[in-house]
Symmetry: C2
Subunit: 146 residues, 2 copies
Amino acid sequence: MSCETDTVKVLRTTGHKATPQRLMILGALRHGSGHLTAAEIFGEVQAEYPYVDISTVYRTLGVLKELRLVSETDMGTGDTTYEWVQQQERHHHLICRNCDEVTSLDHQYLEDLGAEIMAESGFKPDLDHFAIFGLCAKCRLEAEQN
Amino acid sequence: MSCETDTVKVLRTTGHKATPQRLMILGALRHGSGHLTAAEIFGEVQAEYPYVDISTVYRTLGVLKELRLVSETDMGTGDTTYEWVQQQERHHHLICRNCDEVTSLDHQYLEDLGAEIMAESGFKPDLDHFAIFGLCAKCRLEAEQN
DNA sequence: CATGTAGTTGCAACCAATTGCAATTATCAT
DNA sequence: ATGATAATTGCAATTGGTTGCAACTACATG
């Protein structure tokens, strides 16, 4: 039942190893709330054990992403963030390219899109966690005035 | 009618300057076919005039992206590519995260999604040129076997 | 056409992320 | 338990992209 042993199992059955470094990174992801940058994860891991390299963090995040245990999102702020998939509600972000306001988007829209694409082409898109850029209502109206 | 003078006009009216460096970068984008990396653009510009800095290329691409004259796409290969918006057909890419196969996606799917989001929330998403990751039909079937 | 000013450039330093490699280690099969 | 082996690690070097800054320049305005 512990998510930890579950994750370890997933790692092993996919030919990966459950190393101490990875367990620390997993811990940071699981206990950190929401979006974490690689640097934040690195910091937390280092507090526990200082001899871990940042490249190990990135490589581990790469593996976890591949296994779809974490999601990676570029919120357009310059840093990429990572989130533990199990604990997140399915959600998406609408980010205004003018005022940077971030609002949420119901998952249903993308669920439908995914189903359509899958039905037509057989391709199964990963649509768990999208960042969609555009113009929010306010900025759009302002832009249309000119 | 010349796209060049049109673009210059857009730059000026938005408070930007039409510098020689920018015109060279615009030329590279307009004459290069399809997706170009920043390095490719830099190379072409340097061939014409060697004293242009790579940071100028990135900054110019940033401005053009903001003005929506070029689109930026991360195809998951590690390098970001840029494309002159005027000349491209609206298209999207389905990229298999397993075998890296790239197929095209009809724009209509995203058009519909965009219209829905806009109708419901007032947010107008930029959906000109998307890279959607997932599993292609072949890899999905293989994965389901196990 | 002269001029003030805001936008831009090149440079160098910097930051985030990736990669090659030799040493190490978790895991599987015995 | 032991040993073989493939995955992983830390390190150092590298790549792709960004930023602060002083010098410069396009261009709107008069």
